[in-house]
């Protein structure tokens, strides 16, 4: 919980596009990328990294509560993906699930390797905190939503991030981007519709 809080205190959230890798029109599926990575394809590895790096960092921050350790765990996750991509079997599940498992294992390894010296025992859980099942569920939702956001075209992704996490109104976003308000709403609607398609499993 601390980690989740820690990175929300930076609000208002305005995406810094320069810090995010350029969107590429790569139409290859995650399964195809993993197959190529298994054969040592560096470009496929970079594309998979672009798709999942923020999702991995997101759950690492939630779990570890420390940005430095979370960044290390993110690096470890992708090193592990590079080494073990050949073990991914599409018949046993979707790549997002497999990658999620790899990330969680890397995070757990990181926690074991460098236990937080300030925490002698597991902290007591406050009455209002979610239980373990709820925490896992929240982590999975976060993983899938963040991954789905990465599938959006650049102009829609920026809009979603501004609309939900910048604290700006649609009018302020329109002014910020120099777009008519109607265009901002139309694009936001298109982005949400595209996200609905990506998240159909979660939507039930």
């Amino acid at each position: 919980m601390d980690a989740a809080v820690a990175y929300r205190t930076d609000l208002p959230f305005v995406p810094r596009r320069a810090s995010i890798l350029a969107m590429s029109p790569d139409a290859r599926t995650d399964v195809e990328l993993l197959g190529l990575i298994a054969g040592g394809d560096r470009l496929a590895f970079e594309e998979l990294y672009r798709r999942y790096a923020r999702s991995v960092l997101g759950i690492a921050l939630r779990r570890m509560g420390d940005r430095g350790r979370a960044e290390d765990a993110t690096q470890d996750t992708f090193a592990s993906i590079w080494r073990s991509a050949s073990r991914y079997d599409p018949a046993r599940g979707r790549p997002a699930s497999w990658l999620y498992t790899v990330a969680r294992n890397a995070i757990v390894d990181g926690l074991r390797r460098k236990p937080d010296p300030t925490v002698a025992d597991a902290p007591d859980m406050a009455a209002g905190d979610p239980g373990p099942l709820e925490a896992v569920e929240a982590e999975w939702v976060s993983w899938r939503v963040h991954r789905a956001i990465e599938t959006l075209p650049e102009h829609e992704r920026s809009l979603v991030e501004l609309a939900y996490w910048s604290g700006m109104s649609q009018s302020e976003i329109a002014e910020y981007l120099g777009l008519p308000l109607g265009t901002v709403k139309t694009r936001t609607r298109a982005a949400l519709s595209r996200l609905a398609g990506e998240l159909e499993d979660e939507l039930g």
């Binding site: 790096a53 709403k185 936001t188």
Partner: protein, 183 residues
């Protein structure tokens, strides 16, 4: 959180509105994705092993021959004497392309600092291979050579080093530099 109507207008079909409402709720639950810090802007370099070249090829060959001889002697002594515990103190999994895998079992270190090992490999093409310790992605110290004919191969090997000084293991084809198995 901003109301959905404020974001997309209020002229949606009921079915589409319900669909976007669910996405709207998920976005609220997920919270913002973190920004990637500078250090993570690019994909990390894939772990790879680069060779520290020996000055002359004959030195490499001589070293490999010495290692093979030492390992063979050790293996004979180890098997004959039953040195070391019967249970490994650590097992290292390795993997590579085309489903190739290996398990490296390390047994209790002897008084001289040798780590007896048992390497079991499968999925590698027929040929001769070498096991190396790596440091910072480079081949650092050899731990012996072995041959693979078909199926699973199990060989005793030895690492006469302080393992804390290294960060991984790789298997490379004999006299080559590209790993076929990595930790």
């Amino acid at each position: 959180m901003t109301e959905l109507d404020d974001l997309v207008g209020n002229d949606l079909e009921p079915g589409e509105r319900a669909r976007l409402e669910r996405v709207h709720a998920l976005l609220g639950r997920a919270g913002p994705p973190p920004e990637l810090p500078h250090a993570l802007e690019r994909a990390p370099e894939p772990p790879s092993a680069r060779v520290i070249p020996f000055p002359r090829r004959y030195r490499y060959t001589a070293l490999a021959a010495a290692v093979v001889a030492a390992c063979a002697l050790f293996g004979v002594g180890y098997l004959a004497g039953g040195a070391g515990g019967s249970e490994p103190v650590r097992t290292v999994a390795m993997s590579g392309p085309n489903q190739a895998t290996a398990d490296l079992a390390l047994f209790e270190k002897d008084a001289a600092g040798n780590w007896p090992m048992k390497l079991t490999v499968s999925g590698l093409p027929e040929g001769r291979y070498e096991l190396w310790l790596t440091r910072e992605g480079k081949l650092a110290e050899p731990c012996g050579a072995f041959a693979v004919v078909a199926g699973e191969t199990t060989v005793p090997l030895n690492a006469p080093y302080s393992l804390k000084a290294f960060d991984g293991w790789v298997v490379v084809p004999a006299n080559e530099k590209t790993p076929v198995l990595t930790t």
